[in-house]
């Protein structure tokens, strides 16, 4: 099914003051579309986690929302640094968050596992020195 709605949000590395703004806008959009509460719950959690990952770990990137009649898709695409060991990164409790991020309460090592748990389909591709792309979809039916 063709994508009927696409919105992109640039997310800056280290921008803690604006962290969460893209998620708030995405949630508002989905509510206006009348997406069910159940799907909304999962998207909200995954969306905030992925946005925060861009702020904490990446060198900057873009968060894209796609909606078609069957599913909601979130794509996070950054410009580096890339994840050397994806299996390790997916392990609960593993985190490479900076001391600064940890003082702000992040770095519990639950980000990626939480995203995977909430998405219907989850895919992560990463290359060191190039960047990471995370694609999550949430079935509407």
């Amino acid at each position: 099914m063709a994508v009927l709605l696409e919105k992109s949000f640039p997310v800056e590395a280290g921008a803690y003051t604006t962290a969460g703004e893209a998620s708030t806008t995405i949630k508002r959009t989905l509510k206006q579309l009348g997406i069910s509460a159940d799907v909304l719950r999962h998207v909200s959690v995954a969306c905030y986690e992925v946005e925060l990952n861009l702020v904490i770990h990446s060198l900057g990137g873009t968060l894209t929302l796609l909606v078609d009649p069957e599913k909601v898709t979130l794509i996070s695409k950054d410009v580096g640094p890339g994840i050397p060991d994806i299996d390790k990164a997916m392990t609960e409790g593993f985190s490479t968050a900076s001391a600064e991020a940890r003082t702000l309460g992040f770095g519990a090592g639950m980000g990626l596992p939480n995203m995977k748990r909430n998405a219907t389909e989850f895919d992560i591709q990463s290359e060191v020195g190039v960047g990471t792309t995370i694609t999550m979809s949430f079935a509407l039916a």
């Binding site: 009927l4 709605l5 919105k7 969460g20 998620s23 708030t24 949630k27 959009t29 509510k31 206006q32 579309l33 009348g34 997406i35 509460a37 159940d38 909304l40 719950r41 909200s44 959690v45 969306c47 905030y48 909606v67 009649p69 939480n114 509407l140």
Partner: protein, 431 residues
């Protein structure tokens, strides 16, 4: 079409100047200025009363019952909100307020704070269930519950299914009065002395159950003058004070958390603050939080728009009145928890008033058009068009309730282009 709903919050059209004060403050974007006057979109209004507070022309009002309405019942019981006690400066004892109300023509007075005692116990019980989604959200402030219906539908199942203190108070008051006086419950009218319009609406149009046990709502402002004069010669009688300090403490923000006392709770007051925290709850940012108490008004119920006294003054009065017993615990007599219907029997459903269209594909098409229009707008959020922000204006245009030329900035640009065209035209015709 949605049926016309009852709202306590109303507009008195002739007083409205069509300014942007209420427009900008409405938390559900329910107000539009059209034809020089504000209009409230009924489906979106949550009766929080923010517009009443900010209107410089007193064009926003709350519809409540007049004191004379109590004469419609053979027996009349007053249900004073705990926040009422905070309205009087040199109160020696809460019993003066209770006796004062009796002198005004009520046959009986039943403290809503007693209802709060029972409700606190019921919530404590609910919190023992680990399967309830966390944080459990208080159901006490009807404006917050309606805010969640409109803006946070995915948090509805967090709202605790315990009825509000005024409901529980009305049930107990009626049954006890009927038993001790040997009269029928139908002959008894229970009147809530209300600090806020949201409670008035909650009585007429309850959330979570079909019918309210409360028969009417009289605003604090309506009785303030008369009650003040009664209190001056009302006797102190400590045996009348049956609610605990914890129950009385519900009058201010944090009181419910204190009475329910889970390990990890949070109380937030002011509707904008509540919105921020609800966003965080939605994102699962507040892991470990057990209980959330949100009050639409600053300070909690003492900040209700129908109170007389400044909320900070009222809050400190309540603090004093709710510290009679240093070892206070809830006062819940035996049998209370089983004798009454303390729990809701209907699910709280989402309010879809923010939805662009019932059909998802059509909603997406509208969203695209909104984005296109929004990009053309100046982004000043000035409100001159009558919509609260440029984004809501774009939505209104797409929904067919506004036209692009309602934006004075677009209109100015259009005029500039037309003027230029006329100049060009004049030049060509001369040649």
């Amino acid at each position: 079409m949605e049926q016309k709903r009852f709202h306590s919050v109303r507009l008195e059209g002739e007083k409205c100047r069509g300014c942007t004060n209420c427009l900008k403050r409405c938390p559900t974007e329910a107000i539009r200025v059209r034809g020089g006057r504000a209009h409230i979109i009924s489906e979106r209004c949550i009766d929080c009363g923010e517009c009443i507070r900010v209107c410089s022309y007193h064009a926003k009002v709350a519809v409540t019952d007049p004191l004379s309405s109590i004469s419609g019942f053979k027996y009349k019981i007053a249900l004073p909100a705990p926040s009422l006690y905070g309205q009087f400066h040199d109160l020696k004892s809460i019993s003066q307020v209770l006796n004062g109300l009796k002198q005004m023509g009520f046959d009986e007075v039943f403290e809503v704070a007693r209802g709060a005692d029972v409700v606190s116990r019921a919530i404590r019980e609910r919190l023992k269930n680990p399967d309830l989604p966390r944080p459990v959200i208080s159901s006490a402030c009807p404006a917050i519950v309606r805010l969640i219906q409109v803006r946070f539908p995915d948090l509805l199942d967090h709202i605790v299914d315990v009825r509000q203190p005024m409901e529980v108070a009305a049930m107990i008051a009626k049954r006890e009065f009927a038993r001790t006086r040997g009269v029928k419950e139908e002959e008894i009218g229970c009147f809530f002395i209300t600090p806020c319009p949201a409670k008035v609406t909650a009585i007429r149009r309850p959330i979570g159950h079909n019918k309210s046990a409360v028969d009417g709502a009289i605003s604090v402002l309506e009785i303030y003058g008369l009650l003040s004069s009664q209190i001056r010669n009302a006797p102190v009688d400590l045996t009348l004070e049956t609610a605990s300090d914890l129950g009385v403490g519900w009058a201010r923000s944090g009181g419910e958390c204190f009475a329910v006392s889970p390990d990890n709770s949070m109380s937030v007051d002011g509707i904008e603050n509540c919105i921020h925290v609800l966003e965080e709850i939605e994102d699962n940012r507040l892991r470990g939080l057990e209980f959330f108490e949100g009050a639409a008004c600053t300070g909690g119920c003492v900040g209700g728009p129908l109170n007389f006294e400044n909320n900070y003054v009222a809050r400190s009065n309540i603090r004093r009145l709710a510290s009679r017993d240093p070892n206070a615990d809830l006062n819940v007599p035996n049998g209370m928890m089983t004798k009454y219907q303390l729990y809701d029997d209907m699910r709280i459903l989402p309010n879809s008033a923010m939805k662009l269209d019932d059909d998802l594909v059509e909603a997406m098409r509208k969203m695209e058009r909104i984005e296109t229009i929004y990009r053309e707008l100046p982004g000043f959020d000035c409100g001159s068009c009558g919509s609260p922000t440029c984004r809501t204006f774009a939505e209104d245009v797409v929904q067919g309730v506004a036209t692009k030329m309602d934006c004075i900035h677009m209109m100015k640009e259009q005029l500039r282009v037309m003027a230029q065209q006329m100049v060009d035209l004049a030049k060509t015709s001369r040649e």
